[in-house]
């Protein structure tokens, strides 16, 4: 099938440019781009932005075990509506995704139900228990793109060293949640006067720094490829900067929630703002935004964590953590663009190009031969988010009722339209 997307502003994260032009799609890949003669079906983009589809690393889907919270079908629909063309799923399902058999089942379900690409991450230790590593080789052969115990970091450094050594032998990627588990256990806010005022159990940002420093020491020792999924505070960033300067195979990500919300958002104990790690101070948020703009933070993801009403309709301390984000990732991230913190190509480096590079995927770029995974969006379109309109099964978004600017108009996966507004 041949398709031409004309009259677009092409956001190219690789070249760092935004330029008027068109894209020719043939056989699911980008065949030509720039000033081209339209062929086949023609879509007029109306001068809106056309960028590589988002690769969202760290999405939780409820299958198996919590399908009432999110299924591959609903997550896929939410992703398509959010301009996310590849979702990378977390293994914190029930049961945990720690065997090739479970992984194969999930991938088959995903292929049947989701209109976007779905790539699974697998557990790093069996049952997330932090005692024995999983069958990293078999899981990788079955399709796992990375290994993580999600938000339950491996406590025992001996276990982690062995898992890292083994993963390094396979050049497998480990994704680590850098929160020292002893310090952060039970905490639901970042420590500070505001947490004290609300009387909520809190954790110091030092928990992030400690775990990051520990993991970096082990990366130095083992040479493993490692991605810190949530670096959210200034103390952690300083550690990250030193480690990156030393040439380790280390990348870092953060969630859009930590870039756009801060601890004050918790002021009325609304549990939609309870996320892991907890929202940080404004100083930490700004430091994280600057780190994103400078490239110190490589990746922005939604950290999509669907929770049903029953899990959230509880006192703040007892409520489940996490927020949905597939559909709000781009509009929320565009807040940083509108505030002048980051330009569009750099934003799409973090949303599309860098995660694709991290996972060795051919997508995430506007270049000939790349898959035609594309998002057409109007960065200026204003709207008020109504959580009831979200396509996710769970509606736990911290942006409910918020004024946002930037809407997805169309999403293409492999040249096929999977969403149109």
């Amino acid at each position: 099938m041949t398709l031409t997307l004309t009259n677009a502003r092409l956001v190219d994260p690789e070249a760092g440019t935004v330029a008027d032009g068109s894209i020719l799609v043939e056989g699911g890949v980008i065949a030509a781009l720039g000033d081209i003669v339209p062929k086949g079906e023609v879509i007029d983009c109306g001068g809106k932005c056309l960028a590589p589809g988002i690769v969202d690393i760290g999405v939780k889907v409820g299958e198996p075990g919590e399908r009432h919270k999110e299924s591959y079908r609903t997550a896929g629909a939410a992703a398509a509506a959010g301009g996310v063309t590849t979702i990378v799923t977390r293994p914190d399902t029930r049961p945990v995704m720690d065997t090739p058999e479970a992984l194969t089942f999930a991938m088959r379900r995903a292929a049947e139900a989701a209109p976007v690409n779905v790539l699974p991450m697998a557990a790093l230790t069996k049952g997330f228990e932090g005692r024995e590593m999983t069958e990293i080789g078999f899981l990788r052969d079955a399709g796992a793109v990375a290994f993580t115990d999600a938000d339950r970091p491996v406590r025992d450094p001996r276990v982690l060293i062995r898992a890292m050594q083994y993963a390094a032998g396979l050049d497998a990627l480990i994704v680590g949640h850098v929160q020292e588990p002893g310090l952060s256990a039970g905490a639901c806010m970042t420590s500070g006067p505001f947490a004290a005022k609300l009387g909520l159990p809190s954790v110091s940002p030092v928990a992030e720094r400690m775990q990051l420093e520990r993991d970096i020491a082990l990366i130095e020792m083992t040479g493993v490829r490692y991605h810190a999924d949530q670096v959210t505070c200034a103390a952690g960033l300083a550690v990250l900067e030193r480690a990156k300067a030393s040439g380790l195979r280390l990348t870092a990500g953060t969630s859009v929630h930590h870039l756009t919300l801060n601890t004050f958002d918790v002021d009325d104990y609304r549990t939609f703002f309870k996320v892991k790690p907890p929202l940080r101070s404004e100083d930490d948020r700004m430091a994280t935004v600057e780190a994103l703009a400078s490239g110190l933070i490589d990746i922005v993801c939604s950290m999509h964590t669907p929770q049903d009403e029953e899990s959230k309709r509880l006192p703040f301390e007892e409520a489940a953590s996490g927020a949905v984000g597939l559909e709000t990732l781009l509009p929320a991230a565009l807040q940083l663009y509108h505030a002048g913190h980051i330009d569009l190509p750099r934003l799409f480096r973090a949303l599309s190009l860098n995660p694709a590079r991290l996972l060795g995927l051919p997508c995430g770029r506007l270049s000939e031969g790349a898959p035609a995974d594309l998002v057409l969006f109007d960065p200026d379109a204003p709207f008020v988010l109504d959580r009831s309109t979200l396509r996710s099964k769970s509606k736990n978004t911290p942006y409910d009722g918020r004024r946002m600017q930037g809407r997805v108009l169309r999403t293409l996966v492999g040249g096929k339209e999977v969403f149109a507004r």
Binding site: R131, E132, M133, T134, E135, I136, G137, F138, R158, V159, R162, A163, Q165, Y166, A168, G169, T222
Partner: protein, 313 residues
């Protein structure tokens, strides 16, 4: 010449001493195979086998070797002894010394324990394996097997594969084979590769095919299941998939490569059962056979030194 009182490890031996021992072992191997009774060079000597760790095969091998040479052999089951009542190793050594044995064969689960014992007794001590440290007679019997099969013990490429970290066999072998100017490659998952081992041998890899490429000798190690509670590997099936020796992986070695294993084998874990039994490539049975000969040679040489020391030569 073999100017040593004990055989505690390969470390400290010279190439000529190794050759002396192997040459003598060769004559014992021939005699054993021909069913000729050897000279009773240990007649009148008392040999005590002290095994602080179970090992039926090695113990039997030492027992047969001693008896064949005329020694009075006694086995002490150390797990059932006063050791389990709290006696220290030094106390045991002193008690033993008072009984005036001539040769003590010791296996101990802790590295260095045999050296400690040797320093406290007046007789000859043979190390039958101490912790992760050394297993000299195993390395010597492997060397003898290689020499018989390959016609030489130098300028060969030897791949030692598997659980290197927990293996005294690997350690003794890499010292011996390095000393004899062979090219030694260590192959295994990084979790089972001791840190700093790259200072001991030139090549290490976690890719079996790369490690086996053009090898003359493929030496498989037993996966120490009893030490696997530390989670060094994901599972036995994945270990077999990546590191277990099968015909396909072996095809990367030289066509005339031999396959060795110190036993006991975990079939389907570190080695394919059919391959282990294939007499065209597997020399595992011959290793066992050479074990008796090497132990006879070692005890013979130590007994000669002992007698010389006591003015009995």
């Amino acid at each position: 010449m073999f100017p040593h009182r004990h055989l505690l490890g390969i470390e400290g031996l010279r190439p000529t001493e190794i050759t002396t021992l192997l040459d003598l072992a060769e004559t014992y191997a021939e005699a054993n195979r021909a069913g000729r009774a050897p000279e009773r060079v240990l007649a009148g000597l008392t040999q005590i086998n002290m095994f602080f760790e179970n090992s039926t095969r090695t113990q039997a091998s030492f027992e047969i070797a001693g008896k064949r040479l005329g020694a009075d052999v006694m086995n002490m089951a150390m797990q059932a002894s006063s050791i389990s009542k709290g006696e220290t190793l030094i106390d045991t050594a002193l008690t033993l010394n008072a009984m005036h044995p001539d040769l003590i064969v010791v296996r101990h689960p802790h590295s260095g324990a045999v050296n400690l014992l040797a320093s406290k007794v007046n007789c000859a001590v043979l190390n039958a394996g101490d912790g992760r440290h050394e297993h000299p007679t195993q390395a010597l019997l492997d060397a003898l097997t290689i020499r018989r099969r390959k016609g030489r013990l130098h300028r060969l490429t030897v791949a030692i594969c598997g659980d290197i970290a927990h293996s005294r066999v690997a350690r003794s072998n890499m010292i011996l084979l390095g000393l004899m100017e062979n090219r030694v490659r260590l192959v295994g998952p990084r979790t089972l590769m001791p840190s700093g081992v790259d200072h001991m041998v030139a090549e290490t890899t976690d890719d079996m095919r790369e490690g086996l490429r053009d090898a003359d000798v493929v030496m498989m190690l037993r996966l120490q299941k009893e030490r696997m509670d530390g989670g060094f590997i994901p599972s036995e099936r994945e270990y077999y998939h990546r590191f277990g020796l099968d015909a396909e992986k072996l095809s990367y070695a030289r066509p005339d490569a031999i396959v060795m294993h110190p036993g006991p084998m975990n079939r389907g874990v570190e080695i394919d059962g059919l391959l282990a039994d294939d007499i065209n490539v597997s020399v595992i049975r011959e290793q066992v056979e050479m074990g008796v000969a090497v132990r006879m040679a070692a005890m013979d040489l130590l007994a000669r030194n002992l007698r010389a020391e006591r003015g009995m030569a």
